[in-house]
Subunit: 238 residues, 2 copies
């Protein structure tokens, strides 16, 4: 039932967003040429901890097999997550939506002002099927006064899970996740998320995420999630 | 340990955002006079289903004890969720943040353009300790192409949980939640979330959320969550 429900979106995503069937999964995340702005590059809002950890992982891309995943806002982005104009909406009268309703944007890149929303970069290690996300939640992601909204942490974890699940085993859709909060996270502080694929079984990827501060003294939320694998269909030759 | 960790934020929230100790919890959500814009009012982006269900629940506020919760972006809002300038950031160099770093905003009101982000309104029924959230996720909340990001659904559920937990039993902080996805939700379609407090035990509120389309034909995600109760301290007389 669930698989049938998701298959439509998988086809849609394939034809609208994914490259040709001969492209590797990595090439979808690493376009050789694009005029799109990579939002996973340092900007003036990044704190010193985030800048130096980013540099550490960039060094690892040269020697230890890590890959930095670029990130684009939406619409015409070449990776598999989002692109293209919104499809016809269903079950809803959308005549009143603003004229630029076709301007879809990946949720974790929804806020444009530097430092105010989701500032993050994801690195992936293919041979170990694991990722690290460096995340600096801005003041537009507030929950309790002065602290990050639990929902924004869940969203960032889900986004990193989905990228990792796709690259590690063609996992395309979140089936479930379970998040436990341990401490409140001050806004604009650095959160380091360590994501691992625990196992792949019966077309499902079982994943874990442990979040912590850079010095690992502050335990942040932990998350467990299950993703569904869906083999993408071959694209018909044009 | 967790309670001690959260107590600081509870005090902070109390002194910065909550009204005097003689105010009822409801009055914190229902200020008699404010010049702030209530973002939980219909706008041109709301679909017909959302408009008519909103009207139905507004009728219930006159006769069936339901209360509509206004919603404000942040900073000087009178409810307990967010307000005031950001506190000093910890563990991070924030010198590079933009000058308006004090402009905090509640996460689910982070996108200003009508219809592009979180469009929602929450109604609460005190005697039954339950809420309904009418949610229309806009195209800036995209996950799979054309569909709503799972993280944005988790965020909206967490926000509705937190409002309900606070009003139903002074539950202030999310300890955990568990979300199961059933179908993908097209962007800009209406999601109806039914939230209930299942039990209150050992200073914890156990809550559930079932999401569905208006006609209940489409099963959407379900969520279970646990919130921590924290008695707010009396405020010192000025």
């Amino acid at each position: 039932m669930i698989r049938r429900g998701f298959q439509v979106a998988a086809r849609l995503g394939h034809h609208r967003a994914f490259g040709s069937s001969t492209d590797s999964m990595f090439s979808r995340f690493l376009p050789e040429k694009t005029d799109l702005k990579d939002d996973a590059l340092p900007d003036a809002s990044w704190c010193l901890d985030m800048l130096s950890l980013d540099q550490e992982f960039l060094e690892k891309t040269k020697s230890s097999g890590w890959i930095k995943l670029p990130s684009f806002k939406g619409k015409t982005q070449p990776n598999g997550a989002v692109s293209g104009p919104c499809p016809p909406f269903s079950g809803c009268d959308t005549a009143h939506l603003s004229p630029d309703k076709g301007d879809c944007r990946i949720f974790t890149r929804c806020i444009q002002v530097e430092g105010q929303g989701f500032e993050y970069v994801i690195f992936f290690q293919p041979s170990k099927k694991k990722s690290v996300c460096l995340f600096q939640p801005g003041p537009y992601l507030e929950g309790p006064p002065g602290f990050t909204h639990g929902g924004s942490l869940a969203a960032m974890m889900d986004e990193t899970f989905s990228k990792t699940a796709f690259l590690a085993g063609e996992g395309l859709f979140t089936l479930s996740f379970n998040i436990r909060f341990k401490n409140l996270i001050p806004m604009s502080s650095l959160v380091v998320m360590d994501i691992e694929v625990e196992k792949i079984e019966d077309q499902k990827l079982y994943m874990s995420c442990i979040a912590h501060s850079r010095d690992q003294h502050s335990a942040h939320p932990s998350l467990a999630g299950v993703f569904l694998q869906l083999q993408l269909e071959e694209e018909s030759p044009q």
